[in-house]
């Protein structure tokens, strides 16, 4: 069975070893991406530079400024003397938040009428401002609660909600990003590499020589993807190890199961790349089509942006992407420690995708030149 597959795979490995640039990219990409995403990308914004306009200058006002600072969301960078100076600081971007405490703040506080403070947040970047807005509301709420309990003569609060963030108790970004990154890196390299594979042979003229031999088209295509299955699993191992030991990402579930499902995902991605290869005529076209596919994968799969927030139509598109399903597997196994009993729908979709893509590319590929 398939007597020509062995030589095809061996040849592909020799070529892979000779192509230092591609080899470097395949190994370097996971490491660089992981360090970038792991260190640089943090979705929880802290230490927003803040200017303070304290018109009352009393112990009470200093107390409330300290409370803001203690949330960790605000970092006081300057005190200003009037409102225009505060606005200027925010306009120029020297500060992204401003706290205004009016003259009558302590008086109103003492009298029992509502004492107002104003918090101005630069919301041009919603992600950055959201945390500050929440923290500002929190500061007031905590104060209110303390004042009201004291006024009511009670020593404890009447109601408390104890929230337990399960699976990622510290709400750490790396725990969320690193498992997703495994999927993203595999998608980028696997699709891109195989999309170029057959087109490259066509462009260089080596396909013509190969077609006149007894190699069957299935052997030709399998020979192209099999070596990269190994590459994909090596990449995944690299990211998981770095994630574990550099970013302390937990590994709660069955690693063997993760590799088994990853194998299906890798084959699905590779066969998709192969399919692209049969659609285009040049390596450049292959690259463009591959990128056209990779971008929605990053944006719509739930890698960085929650799918629940997307309009229904885009959620459906997301469902058609293998990465969406593989991300659920990754986070499910790594963070939640769940097994096949919870993940079988995702595995079924990935298997289906792989089969459809292999069949489609074998059908589309003809052993002729036109």
């Amino acid at each position: 069975m398939m007597p020509h597959l062995g030589p095809m795979v061996r040849k592909e490995f020799i070529q892979m070893r000779r192509d230092r640039l591609t080899l470097g990219i395949m190994v370097g990409l996971p490491v660089v991406q992981l360090l970038l995403f792991g260190y640089a990308i943090q979705t929880d914004v802290r230490n927003l530079p803040t200017v303070v306009l304290d018109q009352s200058r009393t112990p009470e006002s200093r107390d409330i400024v300290a409370a803001f600072q203690n949330t960790g969301n605000f970092r006081i960078v300057a005190h200003v003397n009037d409102r225009p100076a505060l606005d200027r600081a925010i306009d120029r971007g020297e500060a992204q938040a401003g706290i205004v405490i009016p003259y009558d703040f302590p008086r109103r506080l003492a009298r029992g009428t509502t004492a107002r403070i104003q918090v101005i947040v630069d919301a041009a970047d919603p992600l950055a401002s959201q945390a500050a807005i929440g923290a500002a509301a929190g500061v007031a709420e905590v104060r209110n609660l303390a004042l009201l309990t004291r006024a009511a003569g009670r020593s404890v609060v009447p109601l408390e909600a104890r929230v337990r963030p399960r699976y990622n108790p510290g709400l750490r970004s790396p725990n969320y990003i690193v498992p997703g990154l495994v999927g993203v890196i595999l998608t980028i390299t696997m699709v891109l590499i195989t999309a170029m594979a057959i087109v490259r042979e066509r462009e260089r003229g080596t396909l013509e020589q190969l077609i006149v031999t007894p190699v069957t088209k299935t052997e030709l295509m399998l020979g192209k993807i099999m070596p990269y299955v190994g590459v994909g699993l090596v990449q995944m191992t690299a990211v998981l190890l770095l994630g574990r030991f550099v970013f302390a990402v937990p590994l709660a579930g069955d690693v063997l199961l993760l590799y088994a499902i990853a194998l299906v995902f890798v084959v699905a991605s590779l066969s998709f790349g192969l399919f692209i290869s049969t659609l285009v005529r040049t390596q450049q076209q292959a690259m463009q089509v591959a990128f056209f596919f990779v971008l929605p994968n990053i944006l719509l799969s739930g890698f960085m942006f929650p799918r629940q927030a997307m309009p229904l139509f885009f959620q459906w598109i997301g469902l058609a992407l293998p990465l969406t399903h593989f991300l659920k597997v990754l986070r499910g196994i790594l963070l939640k420690g769940v097994g096949l009993e919870a993940l079988w729908p995702q595995v079924a979709v990935l298997l289906g995708f792989a089969v459809v893509m292999i069949v489609a590319s074998v059908r589309r590929f003809h052993k002729t030149l036109d």
Binding site: P7, D19, Q209, L210, T213, P214
Partner: protein
């Protein structure tokens, strides 16, 4: 009656509105060195590609080694060798790796493979360059390597598409000596060329122009048929006729 090695009947190939090969009927006997001669665009390469199963004919039929190319192209592969116009081997593989890859593709194994590769290496004379990358070879050595890879499975019919383009005269001469050696052993060779001295070395020629067969016969017969004293005259007459 002896079965012809290659036979075409009304072989035609169209690319959209263009007819690259029109109604070509030829018959090539076993052990013959047969030349396809004609200016660029006359349909030589398209003809060879159809005979190798690289392109499907639009009309007509062709048999190679007794097998119909449109019915069973896969069965032909084990019996033919093919050298494309452009170097079709892997430049990032060494001479030896290329030979062994194709030996594997032709299902040669173990001792049989070692013996066959060694025989081919000595026949095309690449013994001193086995560890060199194909990309580093000059035109003449690349062509020898390509011939070697096309001969590993001892094909009965050999298709050579402008095998000596860009090769120096000495290398061309030794290449043609090899071709005649192969023919003497019974291999049928179909070769395209636009070098006159090479055309003279063929036993029979088919002169093509604009996708049609213009003349068929020995080099002298073909020259006379087109109306030139020599083959070169005939070729120039054709080319001028094409340009008008």
């Amino acid at each position: 009656m002896i079965q012809p090695s290659v036979e075409t009947r009304g072989l035609t190939r169209r690319f959209g509105a263009l007819t690259a090969v029109q109604d070509l009927t030829i018959r090539i006997e076993k052990g013959e060195v047969f030349g396809l001669l004609g200016p660029n665009g006359s349909g030589k390469t398209t003809t060879i590609r159809m005979l190798c199963g690289l392109l499907e004919p639009s009309a007509g039929s062709a048999t190679v080694a007794g097998i119909d190319v449109t019915v069973a192209p896969e069965q032909i592969r084990q019996r033919i060798g093919y050298m494309s116009q452009k170097f079709g081997l892997y430049e990032d593989l060494t001479v030896s790796e290329n030979l062994n890859f194709y030996a594997g593709i032709y299902e040669l194994k173990g001792d049989a493979r070692r013996r066959r590769v060694a025989a081919v290496v000595s026949f095309v004379g690449v013994g001193n360059r086995l560890r060199q990358l194909a990309a580093e070879l000059s035109g003449g050595w690349k062509q020898r390597l390509a011939l070697g890879c096309a001969l590993l499975h001892e094909p009965t019919v050999l298709f050579l598409d402008e095998p000596t383009a860009g090769v120096d005269p000495a290398a061309r001469r030794s290449f043609w000596r090899a071709i005649h050696d192969l023919a003497a052993q019974g291999t049928t060779v179909l070769v395209t060329t636009h070098y006159m001295d090479e055309a003279e070395r063929c036993q029979r020629l088919a002169m093509m122009s604009g996708g049609r067969l213009i003349a068929l016969g020995t080099p002298a017969e073909v020259a006379a048929a087109v109306g030139g004293r020599t083959l070169e005259d005939a070729f120039i007459i054709l080319q001028e006729r094409d340009e008008r």
